[in-house]
């Protein structure tokens, strides 16, 4: 590992986390008596964090290459002299994330103060919003995996509360549950990966883990699996295939929450983790990561073409862009992925807040069929939306162009084996992105109003909502990023935690430098610009004549239906896993009520049931792969589910038996 220079942390850095925490607590306890339910306190707290983050960024820039700021202390010790540390570490990755998180959070808070005005639970909303951002900040500044995991789970909890914020509506509560449980499945993998790494390194600290990887304490297949385990956690949070199903449903939350989730917090956490842990990924793990990202990117953009709800289009667009970032990590360019994360965070936040502004103006109508012609009514929203769209489509001179190209360039020259097709997949996704965004902008803002009544009542939003839009749109302009790009996102040398091992240095630096020195080939630029312009041109061609609207099928028939149905993954999960489980549970319940409710009998009936299911398997297999998976799940679930009597005593009996027998085996053998 190159000599890492550990600088003391400036005293103000902890306040980046502490200020929003304190503000959140004050608002929580005294918000009801404060004027405006204390939203000022929360916004001010985040403002302080934003200013301090900027200070941190400039402080970091002035450090010599390879230096980072670190402070840590013993958190607690357990028997055997094992210390657990807690600390703050700020390197380039962290500094960039801090600014993005605090900037977007601050603007979203400001926006929310108008958007949520008059909500009966305004006070609670602001508390959770602030807690959400704080948890994300904890995650970002953590210097070890344990603290990161704590922030990680807090983010999950807050997202659950916020997505289901309007929980009077059952669908919203279901969406919150779905987001929580889906990400939790990924977290199981993450926890396993975490334990494997801890087992090898004897510490959770990033520096120790990387050192262990570099010195070969953990390597080969074990390291691959640990990496994939960690990545599963990232895939859950960042909505990667096959965990992406929660993200569109998460639109059920208030729009500012969607903006926060899609830009600065939640989904960014996964990409951040993948980039942060990049040194531990083996080529095999990277291959898996790259393909996951590529598949997600193309899948998300295909589905987005067919959606008719303004927020759903943006949701699938986010999935697609996250796929891009994950693909960036996979092809060996975490710096490019982080660059794209930062640019995307800002323009996607702008798009989401813009859609919030539209929805606000339209009195909570979200369907494209009610829109059209809104540019005259919402000029500021329109222009900021168009600028951000250009960035998302990757037009030249926008921030999105820079970051998207960084990823594509790396994909072309990736040292990860077997990922070259991803360059073309990435191009295809970029083309579709430009196309569906044009479609949406046109259907929303241009043409003739399709719902005259709603159109007449529409009005531009107040300054608290438009100012964030303008600020965010400014960041979509490529020039603003010029200096930072060089410093943060171009070469791995600035990432202090990339160990000096052969793989990273030999394979990963070279293509980046190659591109940097020799520039891209001409056809690369042609492709990169061409897909963006081409997508927009096609969109304009199809829609500008006003003959097509949101219901026009743009894809070949069966593909359209498939995409419109989101490739039926939801149904697959619902019928395959949850439905199967429920069926078994119902059957077990019947079986259970007939027999004495003792545990022994429960297990017995579970076994019988499993036998029956195997008998029926013949019949079920005919129904195809979906049912096939269901069967396996059913059979496996049968025994476990039969024990779910809901009676605590039965659970306890099982626990006691297991403990006693386990203890006896352990002692006597």
């Amino acid at each position: 590992m190159n000599e890492l220079l550990n600088k003391d942390l400036p005293a103000y850095i902890p306040w980046i986390v502490l200020a929003p925490t304190l503000a959140g607590l004050i608002q929580n306890f005294f918000g009801k008596v404060l004027p405006r339910k204390g939203d000022i306190v929360v916004i001010a707290g985040m403002g302080v964090a934003l200013v301090l983050s900027l200070l941190t960024l400039f402080h970091w820039i002035n450090l010599a290459p390879g230096e980072y700021m670190h402070w840590h202390t013993t958190w607690f010790s357990v028997a055997g002299g094992i210390d657990f540390h807690v600390g703050i570490m700020v390197d380039g990755l962290t500094a960039a994330m801090l600014v993005v998180v605090t900037l977007v959070s601050f603007l979203v808070f400001l926006f929310s103060s108008q958007y949520m005005k008059g909500d009966p639970y305004y006070h609670r909303f602001f508390f959770w919003l602030s807690f959400f951002a704080t948890a994300m900040l904890i995650l970002v500044v953590a210097d070890n995996l344990l603290l990161l995991f704590i922030g990680w789970e807090l983010v999950g909890l807050c997202s659950y509360k916020l997505i289901g914020f309007w929980s009077q509506d059952l669908a919203n509560a279901e969406a919150a549950k779905k987001a929580f449980i889906t990400t939790r499945i990924g977290d199981v993998g993450m926890l396993i990966g975490l334990m494997m790494l801890y087992n090898a390194a004897g510490s959770f600290a990033f520096s120790d883990v990387f050192a262990a990887v570099q010195s070969g304490v953990i390597s080969g297949d074990v390291l691959t699996w640990a990496g994939i385990g960690l990545f599963l956690g990232a895939a859950g949070k960042s909505a990667q295939f096959p965990f992406h199903v929660w993200l569109p449903d998460a639109m059920a939350g208030p729009t500012p929450v969607s903006a926060l989730i899609h830009a600065a917090t939640m989904v960014a956490a996964g990409v951040y983790l993948a980039a942060r842990m990049f040194p531990i990924f083996t080529p095999e793990a990277l291959q898996y990561i790259a393909w996951t990202g590529g598949i997600t990117a193309i899948l998300g953009s295909i589905i987005a073409v067919t959606q008719t709800d303004i927020k759903k289009v943006l949701a699938y667009s986010t999935i697609s862009q996250l796929g891009y970032m994950i693909m960036g990590v996979g092809v060996g360019a975490p710096w490019a992925a982080m660059f794209h994360l930062c640019t995307h965070a800002l323009f996607k936040a702008c798009l989401f807040l813009g859609s919030g502004s539209v929805i606000h103006a339209m009195h909570h109508a979200q369907e494209l069929k009610d829109m059209g012609g809104l540019r005259k009514k919402l000029p500021i929203t329109f222009w900021t939306f168009v600028i951000s769209t250009a960035a998302l489509a990757g037009l030249p001179l926008t921030s999105g162009f820079l970051s998207k190209d960084a990823i594509l360039a790396q994909a072309l020259h990736s040292p990860t084996p077997g990922v070259q097709p991803l360059f073309w997949i990435g191009l295809a996704a970029a083309f579709l992105t430009a196309f569906y965004m044009t479609r949406m902008v046109w259907l929303c803002f241009m043409g003739q109003p399709r719902n005259q009544e709603k159109y007449d009542h529409a009005h531009e939003s107040p300054w608290q909502m438009t100012v964030p839009l303008v600020v965010l749109a400014l960041f979509s302009i490529g020039l603003i990023w010029g200096g930072f790009e060089e410093k943060f996102f171009r070469t791995p040398a600035d990432y202090t935690f990339f160990p000096d091992n052969e793989f990273v240095q030999g394979a990963y630096v070279a293509p980046g430098e190659h591109l940097h020195e020799h520039g891209h080939p001409f056809w690369f630029y042609a492709c990169a610009v061409g897909v963006g312009v081409g997508g927009i041109a096609l969109g304009l061609m199809l829609f500008a004549r006003g003959k097509r609207d949101q219901d026009t099928k743009l894809l070949p028939g069966s593909l359209h239906d498939l995409a419109k149905g989101k490739f039926y993954l939801d149904e697959f999960y619902l019928n395959g896993f949850i439905g199967g489980w429920n069926k078994v549970a119902a059957a077990a319940n019947v079986a259970d009520s007939r027999v004495v409710d003792g545990l022994v009998n429960n297990v017995g009936s579970g076994g019988l049931l499993a036998g029956d299911l195997c008998g029926d398997a013949d019949q079920l297999v005919v129904d195809g792969a979906v049912n096939g998976v269901a069967d396996v799940t059913q059979a496996a679930g049968a025994v476990a589910s039969a024990a779910q009597t809901g009676r605590l005593r039965n659970y306890l009996t099982a626990a006691v038996f297991t403990t006693a027998i386990g203890l006896l085996i352990l002692i006597l053998l």
Binding site: R649, T653, F657, I661, L663, I667
Partner: protein, 165 residues
């Protein structure tokens, strides 16, 4: 057999018999009074070991506090409580098997482990030292315990309040 040994066996028998009765007697009122016997036995065991302060705390808190609470609980929920007893006999085998298993497991573990059998603490009064420890080394835990008690108090009061409206 010295006086201490005699006392130990007496109190141990009280604790275990009381416990058994508390768990096996069908009527819940009888169970609560058997529990009192068990608690007094445990307090005796503390006293035999020179833990004088704990013995008193045991009597005051458990016999004087928790048991009275339980007695109130039975008074207030008495109507249906008795009828449950008949159903309990049916699960008893599982309970007894589980208990025997866990007892066997614990005893094997104990038998196989090495404990310090040498040094025995002198039987000096402990109250002063415990007090010093509580407001010295354990002051934070002590404060947390007091907060916990307050929370339990508030929580219990909140839970039993009649629904407004």
């Amino acid at each position: 057999m010295g006086a201490a040994t005699l006392l130990f066996w007496t109190f141990a028998a009280m604790a275990v018999t009381g416990g058994l009765m508390a768990v096996l007697l069908p009527r819940i009122v009888h169970a609560v009074f058997s529990l009192m016997l068990s608690f007094i036995g445990v307090a005796g065991l503390y006293a035999v070991q020179g833990a004088d302060f704990l013995a008193i705390v045991q009597l005051v808190v458990y016999v004087g506090g928790v048991l009275v609470l339980m007695a109130f609980g039975i008074l207030l929920t008495g109507r249906t409580a008795e009828s449950l007893a008949q159903h309990e006999a049916r699960h008893r085998p599982y309970g007894v098997i589980a208990a025997l298993l866990i007892f066997a497991a614990l005893m094997t573990t104990i038998a196989k482990s090495q404990f310090n059998t040498g040094t025995v603490m002198a039987g000096d009064p402990t109250t002063l030292d415990i007090g010093a420890l509580l407001i010295g080394d354990y002051i934070i835990a002590f404060e947390f315990a007091s907060v916990l008690l307050l929370l339990a108090l508030v929580g219990a009061a909140y839970l039993v309040r009649r629904a407004e409206r």
